[in-house]
């Protein structure tokens, strides 16, 4: 990973923050927040080969908790973020305890099942989650520090908040992967038996990675309700997890920053192409196939490396 590539993003973000309109800023905030969650999935998929179909449950579960705290307790930025991180980690812990018993297909199925339990809860616990209608009437976000409080509801502050979150999460994820635990995670992907022979507990390692990724997804989820002022059960449905995987593959698995590119590409295509054609999903599918064939490492790593390998 070369630093200059993503350093380019900083001036771009600055320009957007200065000159972007309300709509574009909010859209960019949504890309950054969703992208952060997709990036946390990349830690699992890209480094640990733990393909989870339950990641949206962590992201969306945190979004529900955050929205409920804001609606019923008027919680500000800090409590909402902390609660989101805690929710993401807790759900990831539960999901991990169930799913790390196995790998590959069964891991996928187990994460799907746990994720769908969260969905069922969101869909059927009408008195709390609003059921199919979702949660509405979310108050504007504010930061309370000491006695003072700053409103954070404007599109510009939301964007800056999302950009800060994305940057922080990215740096955290990088240092996690550079640390011994991250190297061990990669080793668990390549040589799980040898790693176990070296004395590592592979299952515990995977569980820790899941909880870490869950924390990041939870932090992103905590901010998500404030972008749209709405949270609905689609957000925790397994199909959202699948969409996140598509975003990740589009951008580039195992690169971290590719998650943001893939998320941006997917949402842009979804929002703009669908204005011109009813068949935009076909185009997303074609794009997906073309990228998998010609750019197997995603659009942030052009080339044929995997074929040559």
């Amino acid at each position: 990973m070369r630093a200059h590539a993503w350093l380019l993003c900083l001036p771009l973000a600055g320009l957007l923050a200065l000159f972007g309109g309300d709509y574009h800023l909010r859209f960019a905030a949504e890309i950054l927040i969703t992208g952060t969650a997709v990036m946390s999935l990349d830690i699992l998929v890209g480094q640990g080969r733990l393909v989870s179909l339950g990641h949206a449950a962590l992201f969306g579960g945190a979004a529900y908790v955050s929205a409920l705290l804001a609606i019923h307790a008027g919680a500000g930025l800090m409590p909402v973020l902390l609660a989101g991180i805690a929710t993401g980690m807790l759900l990831a812990l539960v999901m991990g305890l169930v799913a790390t018993r196995s790998v590959d297909l069964f891991f996928l199925i187990l994460t799907l099942v746990v994720g769908q339990m969260v969905y069922e809860l969101a869909f059927h616990w009408r008195t709390v989650t609003g059921g199919a209608d979702g949660l509405r009437g979310i108050p504007a976000l504010a930061l309370h520090l000491g006695g003072a409080s700053w409103p954070m509801s404007g599109a510009r502050s939301l964007f800056l908040l999302a950009a800060g979150l994305a940057l922080l999460a990215y740096l955290l994820a990088r240092s996690f992967l550079a640390a011994p635990i991250g190297r061990a995670l990669v080793a668990s992907r390549e040589q799980p038996v040898r790693l176990a022979a070296l004395g590592y507990e592979v299952r515990r390692l995977r569980l820790l990675a899941m909880v870490f990724a869950g924390g990041i997804a939870g932090a992103a989820g905590a901010l998500y309700p404030f972008v749209n002022l709405y949270v609905g059960p689609n957000l925790v449905h397994w199909s959202m997890s699948a969409t996140m995987i598509v975003m990740l593959v589009l951008g580039g698995v195992g690169t971290l920053h590719g998650a943001f590119v893939g998320t941006g590409l997917y949402l842009l295509v979804q929002t703009y192409l669908s204005s011109f054609t009813d068949r935009w999903q076909l185009l997303i599918g074609l794009l997906f196939v073309l990228i998998v064939i010609f750019l197997p490492d995603g659009i942030v790593r052009p080339g044929w490396r995997r074929r040559q390998a």
Partner: protein
């Protein structure tokens, strides 16, 4: 690292940057230009056929109006919400900020309607909910600029209960419904009114949305021999339910009644065929309602089939927007004046006379009781047997 990789990435980034810049620089929309109507509907996902019908209905009205409303040319911008609230929200923000629409119409799904409510309210955008029936939008979630030129769930469940109580049976019936927000509302409002009338309802059965096999429910119905079944299903679920009722030979034994979606003339009846015969529904529209006369022929000429709820809703939404615009000489920018114009005058639409309740901007409508009888071509036809005039939702206090 090969140097050409960097260039290629540079090209990609550059292209993205240029696209972004061009995008940000899009000019603001001048208000003297054509009137822009946004239509948010479902052109992918579970409500695709309804969304396409709704678009066709609105396009027909705009064509009938000669492409003009209140003296201004009309430009229609259609966006797909995929039946998902998050996508709908994104599209509404785009329509508002980037396309600069003057009014918004459409919305099939109640979830989308409730999700966009805060955004359009904040933006002060006159919005017309064409199809979604969630009671909440006429009650706690009512908004001064969100009009709903269609029914609430209560208006159909309530009238269904009145008709059943007076004409079918006072007890011994059961209900069956798709287990999601709309199903809960229709069935709940039916049961409530039925009990208020002094009747009693037996077992309440629920099935998940998208059920393919109704046999557990049908065997219960066959065993209980109820005096009536009040059912709510829509689209493909409704078709399958009606067909399986026929296969179980329950169609002639049990009186089936439901909200109009169960026997939608466009979305359900052609696929269900003779399985729909004999059913009763309460609905705000009917192809045999006198008010629908010219519209039904025009729609059949355009699309080769009878209009159902979604297409009629698209047309009616257009009629209401046109009536409002004509009252303000084509300029809705004074929101309060536009609102007052819509509230003051009753509008003649193809579903009958319509006026808006000033408490919640909810349409007060005639509700038709339709019976499915064989039409001239032998196919089941929703035929009006009774009209409940001026049905009004209980509103915010209710």
């Amino acid at each position: 690292m090969r140097p050409n990789l960097l260039t290629r990435r540079g090209v990609l980034l550059g292209t993205a940057g240029v696209a972004l810049a061009a995008h940000c620089g899009a000019p603001a929309v001048a208000r003297s230009e054509p009137l822009r109507i946004g239509l948010l509907t479902s052109l992918s996902g579970p409500f695709t056929s309804l969304g396409e019908s709704m678009r066709a209905g609105l396009e027909l009205l705009i064509a009938d109006a000669g492409g003009q409303m209140g003296g201004r040319p009309v430009e229609l911008l259609v966006e797909d919400d995929g039946g998902k609230p998050e996508e709908g929200l994104r599209k509404v923000r785009k329509l508002i900020a980037q396309d600069g629409i003057d009014v918004l119409g459409g919305v099939i799904s109640a979830g989308v309607a409730l999700a966009i409510r805060d955004v359009v309210t904040e933006a002060g955008l006159p919005t017309f909910i064409s199809n979604a029936s969630a009671n909440a939008l006429a009650r706690e979630a009512a908004s001064p600029l969100v009009f709903r030129p269609t029914k609430t769930s209560w208006m159909l469940g309530h009238t269904g209960a009145l008709w059943t109580f007076q004409n079918i049976a006072k007890d011994g019936g059961l209900t069956v419904g798709a287990d999601y927000a709309a199903g809960r509302e229709y069935i709940g409002d039916f049961v409530q009114t039925f009990q208020e009338q002094g009747g009693s309802v037996g077992t309440q059965l629920w099935t998940p949305l998208g059920t393919t096999d109704f046999s557990p429910i049908l065997t219960t119905i066959a065993a209980e021999q109820p005096s009536f079944v009040y059912a709510f299903f829509a689209g493909a679920d409704a078709v399958r339910f009606l067909q399986q009722m026929q296969e179980y030979q329950l169609q002639d034994l049990v009186k089936l009644i439901g909200p109009g979606a169960l026997f939608d003339q466009e979305d359900v009846v052609p696929a269900a065929g003779s399985a729909a015969l004999g059913g009763i529904n309460t609905f705000q529209q009917s192809p045999t309602a006198p008010a629908a006369h010219g519209f039904v022929e025009a729609y059949r000429a355009a699309r080769g089939r009878l209009p159902g709820e979604a297409s009629t809703a698209g047309y009616v939404t257009g009629q209401v927007i046109r009536a409002g615009l004509e009252a303000v000489a084509g300029d809705p920018s004074d929101r309060e004046r536009f609102r007052q114009a819509l509230l003051e005058q009753p509008i003649e639409t193809v579903i009958g006379p319509m006026r808006f309740d000033p408490r919640n901007n909810q349409a007060v409508l005639d509700i038709y009781v339709n019976e499915l009888v064989a039409g001239p071509d032998g196919q089941p036809l929703n035929t009006v047997v009774h009209t409940y005039a001026g049905v009004q939702d209980p509103g915010p206090a209710g």
